[in-house]
């Protein structure tokens, strides 16, 4: 028999999953815009604003469920985790907007040295993969899939460090190196938020509090 709390939880999940789809789309557009000059700034800006505006209604529903149904056990863990994930999605949107703004202000990677471009490309693709994984694991409450992000995050971190080492070794600073430095930093932060989402999923599915990052 369906419990009274179930419709609230379903509504919450549906809103969060929709937010996840938009967050994935926003990051993807921002990264491709930067790497391949697809001129999607306005779309990223609008999506980022939409993501920001979605957080309050999700929080309201979560609070209403807490106030009306006093959830416990897995219900409680789901609500706590969903609220945290909602914040992470919002950060996805914010960093995506930052990346798009950098492109608008400083341009893309066309003028960059090939080695910088190679690292940024790889980081962008790996980070997008993490974003997709975080959303897939949310949809299925899949703790095992969430844990696979640990390896991906290490890879992103390594690329970030490689980039910094290369930058330190270089003798000239150009608009391109400045812009890509900022972008790889944002990508590294997006990857961190993907792991936070993974940790929330492991917690909601198993009750286990782990660190993926």
């Amino acid at each position: 028999m369906k419990r009274l709390i179930d419709s609230g939880l379903e509504q919450l999940a549906s809103m969060l999953f929709h937010m996840g789809e938009l967050a994935e789309q926003t990051v993807s557009l921002a990264v491709m815009n930067y790497l391949e000059s697809t001129h999607d700034y306005n779309q990223v800006k609008n999506l980022s604003a939409t993501l920001s505006s979605m957080a309050d209604p999700i929080e309201d529903i979560a609070f209403e469920i807490i106030a009306r149904f006093q959830p416990v056990a897995s219900d409680l863990r789901i609500i706590k985790s969903y609220m945290k994930i909602c914040y992470d999605f919002r950060r996805y949107g914010r960093y995506a907007l930052d990346i798009a703004q950098i492109y608008e202000r400083l341009g893309g990677m066309d003028e960059c040295d090939l080695s910088f471009r190679k690292i940024s490309n790889e980081m962008g693709l790996e980070t997008m993969k993490m974003v997709t994984t975080s959303i897939q694991s949310l949809r299925n409450h899949d703790a095992e899939l969430a844990k696979t992000m640990s390896k991906m995050e290490k890879h992103v971190d390594k690329l970030y460090c490689d980039y910094l080492d290369k930058l330190i070794a270089t003798t000239s600073t150009t608009e391109c190196t400045i812009s890509s430095l900022l972008v790889v930093r944002y990508l590294e932060r997006i990857a961190d938020h993907a792991t936070y989402i993974g940790e929330s999923i492991v917690y909601l599915a198993t009750g286990e509090k782990i660190t993926i990052n």
Binding site: R3, P71, V72, A73, L76, R77, G207
Partner: protein
């Protein structure tokens, strides 16, 4: 963070039957000293029977049969030489509905100390004041101690019953759904009182109200068909229960 102060009640292989009905089955349990332990579970799982085994209240039911041991202060209360009247002074009990005696507020509180010949005269006055204060009702009744207990509201009557239990200086207080007949305001006062009492007493409470168990208790025991399915600190039971049945019960999937 919970402090483990050791156990006050140790239950070993407890079995209770009423006629042919096996209500408590081979149950082992430790009740922690000076803490609130909530016993929860669906109707008929044996919660009240277990609670009443701690002061041998089941003995008054002719068809009951008990085997196993219940140690309180390292003494098995089911030993043949146990003085049941002394035991019930040591283990106070508060019931679902307030049950004041048809006497004054004062007489209700001194009833136990008089029977047990614990005090006389001025000392009785002292016990009355102490017990009513500890039950958070002194301020409301101190100027009308000779009024009938029936003049009090339901919540006040229940606190008076707690004062009556405290008056005989017990070590353990058993509460069988103490708020089920009370309104939310009276319930809040009793719950606050339960928390305060746990500083000096070991409190065991049976409740159907899960939110109440999560609010007032330090430890929770989930009972099903006369067996302990899961026990542990309340935070863990309500946030991350280990057993599927506990999860199903507290999230309202059955019960």
């Amino acid at each position: 963070m919970l402090l483990n102060k050791g156990s006050k009640i140790d239950v070993n292989k407890l079995n209770i039957w009423f006629g042919s009905k096996h209500v408590i089955r081979d149950l082992d349990l430790k009740i922690q000293l000076n803490a609130v332990t909530a016993i929860m579970g669906p109707s008929g799982c044996g919660k009240s029977t277990l609670l009443r085994s701690f002061n041998r209240m089941n003995d008054v039911i002719k068809s009951s049969k008990t085997t196993g041991e219940v140690f309180i202060n390292n003494k098995n209360i089911y030993d043949s030489n146990t003085n049941v009247y002394d035991l019930r002074r040591q283990i106070g009990m508060v019931f679902q509905r307030p049950n004041p005696l048809p006497k004054s507020i004062y007489e209700n509180v001194v009833f136990g100390p008089k029977i047990h010949k614990m005090a006389k005269g001025k000392n009785l006055d002292k016990i009355v004041k102490q017990s009513l204060k500890a039950s958070a009702i002194w301020d409301e009744v101190h100027d009308r101690l000779n009024d009938s207990a029936f003049d009090l509201s339901g919540g006040q009557q229940q606190r008076l019953c707690i004062a009556r239990a405290l008056a005989v200086d017990p070590e353990v207080i058993l509460m069988d759904e103490p708020c089920s007949a009370l309104d939310p305001a009276a319930t809040a006062k009793i719950e606050q009182l339960i928390r305060t009492l746990s500083t000096d007493y070991t409190v065991v409470i049976v409740t159907h109200n899960m939110q109440q168990a999560s609010r007032v208790s330090d430890y929770t025991v989930f009972l099903y068909l006369g067996e302990v399915i899961e026990e542990g600190d309340t935070k863990t039971i309500f946030e991350n229960p280990k057993h599927e049945l506990t999860e199903q019960y507290i999230t309202g999937e059955f019960g």
